[in-house]
């Protein structure tokens, strides 16, 4: 549904994102995880056509965002980092305005506004002036606005920020409910959020994608797994069984296989450096060790940053 290729955004003094590529399948919920300033918002703004990329392409439903901006925007519901609200308007009036510029036909305008208000539970406050709403309600009006005209793709930048735990739960349930019929990309810097809502997670830091995986796998890593990536010239099946038999090794996966050279991902117990053992085993078996790289350290670093960021938020 969304194809992002080699996306780069450079400012005169800073590169916001650098060569970001990923795909989002139809009906999938993709989480963007990263500390503040990592490039989440920039990536989302480029997908929605708010700003053009310096390099790279974005296609939504096979429409290029730069060449066919209106076709792309018609398919996207977007909740920016700060909900784009007119403080002096009433909720219902505001949603009617957004519905109009999103091209909702006049005949179904009232129904559509009523539908999204029902979805995010704001029907009982629909005549309140937005300026007088609490942050949680404002956020919900922002989500309602994104849902108008039922776009197939939803881009939600920090959808649960500023909400209380009950509202956070409601929004997460809403997002899960939308999955399947909608493709959702959401960003967050809160780890449990992606675990609970997303099918797949992209971890981004300093404008670069560091990891793409399911939350389960990421959680596994977080719990403490040493992951080593190896490239070996040798028979794949034999290598797997040999390495698996080693003490401290939990899992061996073949990632890639091309004419006799294989890339493996080996997971070992935490705090147990298995790299030298692995290297010895490979050499002793007579295979060629082409590459051996520890992946876990960098990921752990990121998670450390992410979790401390969350802890700091909880304290404040």
């Amino acid at each position: 549904m969304i194809t992002v290729e080699n996306l780069t955004k450079r400012y005169p003094n800073k590169t916001a994102i650098d060569g970001v590529s990923f795909n989002v399948k139809k009906g999938e919920i993709l989480g963007f995880l990263g500390p503040n300033g990592a490039g989440k918002t920039t990536t989302m703004r480029i997908i929605t056509g708010y700003m053009p990329a310096t390099e790279g392409t974005v296609r939504v439903d096979n429409f290029d965002v730069f060449e066919k901006p209106l076709d792309v925007r018609r398919r996207i519901g977007y909740l920016p980092e700060n909900p784009p609200l007119y403080p002096d308007m009433a909720i219902a009036g505001y949603l009617r305005f957004v519905a109009k510029i999103k091209g909702v036909p006049k005949s179904s305008l009232d129904d559509e506004v009523a539908r999204v208000m029902e979805k995010v539970n704001i029907t009982d406050v629909k005549d309140r002036i937005i300026a007088k709403l609490s942050k949680g309600y404002k956020q919900r009006v922002g989500i309602a606005q994104a849902l108008l005209n039922d776009p197939p793709v939803l881009i939600l930048d920090e959808p649960t920020i500023g909400l209380d735990p009950k509202q956070i739960h409601e929004v997460r349930e809403l997002i899960k409910e939308l999955a399947g019929s909608h493709t959702v990309v959401l960003s967050t810097h809160i780890l449990p959020e992606v675990e609970q809502t997303c099918h797949r997670v992209i971890i981004i830091e300093r404008g670069k994608i560091i990891a793409v995986d399911t939350p389960q796998n990421l959680r596994f890593q977080l719990k403490g797994v040493e992951r080593v990536s190896m490239e070996i010239a040798g028979p794949a099946a034999e290598v797997v069984s040999r390495l698996k038999a080693m003490p401290g090794v939990l899992e061996v996966r073949v990632v890639d296989e091309t004419d006799g050279r294989c890339r493996f991902q080996v997971e070992g117990e935490l705090k147990k450096d298995i790299r030298s053992d692995l290297a010895r085993a490979v050499v002793e078996s007579g295979w060629g060790l082409l590459e051996l790289q520890s992946e876990t350290m960098s990921l752990e670093d990121i998670f450390l940053k992410l979790t401390t960021a969350e802890d700091l938020e909880k304290q404040s």
């Binding site: 955004k9 400012y11 916001a16 920039t42 703004r45 929605t48 056509g49 708010y50 700003m51 053009p52 209106l70 925007r73 018609r74 996207i76 977007y78 920016p80 980092e81 700060n82 909900p83 784009p84 609200l85 007119y86 403080p87 002096d88 308007m89 009036g93 305005f97 957004v98 109009k100 510029i101 999103k102 091209g103 606005q145």
Partner: protein, 261 residues
């Protein structure tokens, strides 16, 4: 068209929800009434001097002054100056507030074109300006009740003010795209309009070559003919082209806003 109307509607609502519309309207009605009265007394004094002079020096009946014409001309010219102060108030928030509130992100990611956004905003400001001009029907009706003014110069005077206002509104709107602060936008617009006005003063002391150029650039000099009841294409083109250039600059400025992020 529907998209443009949606924006016009929201913007006009915005004017009348905030105090700005009421403050500007009240000030304008108050000032226009005040100046109308001042101009009225001034013209009546002139008429008195005129008739006294002819009595003193004899020579039969005095040449009558065109009192309603003088009043309406004076009044419409004064309006052009008052509007100079009002227009920045109308345009200051058009884009600066959108940027500050973050709602610009909504407008620029909705399935509407940038041109529709710019035109919607402009039509809203222009509509409010027309409402402002229409409020002068009160002093004008006084002229029609107690005198018999020639309607030609009055109508052409209003047309002149309309074109003049549209050009200045477009300039003010362009300037409001440059900042997030509506006070800054108002002051910058006011300064720009002042420069375009005072160019006329500079022209008086300039050499003959530059003098023509400066006089041509002056936004007020083009109004004179309209006030006299002359519809000259060159003046109409001047205001329209000023407006179109400012609209185009607004459009380009929105585009560069996207690039700068």
């Amino acid at each position: 068209m529907r998209n443009i109307l949606a924006i016009v509607e929201r913007e006009l609502r915005g004017y009348f929800i905030s105090p700005i519309a009421y403050v500007v309207l009240t000030m304008f009605v108050f000032l226009s009434g005040l100046f109308f009265r001042a101009i009225l007394s001034q013209v009546m004094a002139m008429e008195m001097v005129n008739s006294m002079r002819s009595q003193q020096f004899g020579g039969g009946a005095p040449a009558p002054l065109d009192m309603p014409g003088m009043i309406s001309r004076g009044f419409l010219s004064t309006m052009s100056v008052i509007l100079l102060f009002m227009i920045p108030m109308i345009t200051m928030g058009l884009f600066s507030e959108e940027k500050k509130r973050g709602t610009i992100e909504l407008l620029l990611t909705a399935p509407i074109t940038d041109a529709q956004v710019v035109l919607g905003k402009f039509f809203a400001a222009a509509s409010f300006f027309v409402i402002l001009l229409l409020s002068t029907w009160v002093p004008m009706s006084v002229l029609y009740i107690y005198g018999d003014p020639a309607s030609g110069p009055i109508l052409s005077g209003y047309l002149g003010l309309l074109l003049y206002g549209f050009a200045l509104l477009a300039i003010g709107m362009f300037i409001s795209t440059l900042t997030e602060n509506q006070i800054v936008a108002a002051v910058l617009s006011f300064g720009t309009i002042m420069v375009l006005w005072l160019v006329d003063v500079l022209a008086n002391t300039a050499e003959s070559g530059t003098r023509e150029v400066l006089t041509y650039l002056s936004i007020l000099s083009h109004l004179d003919d309209f006030m006299r009841g002359i519809l000259a294409t060159s003046h109409i083109i001047f205001y329209l082209s000023l407006m179109l250039v400012a609209l185009f600059l607004t459009y380009r400025s929105i585009d560069s806003l996207r690039w700068r992020g």
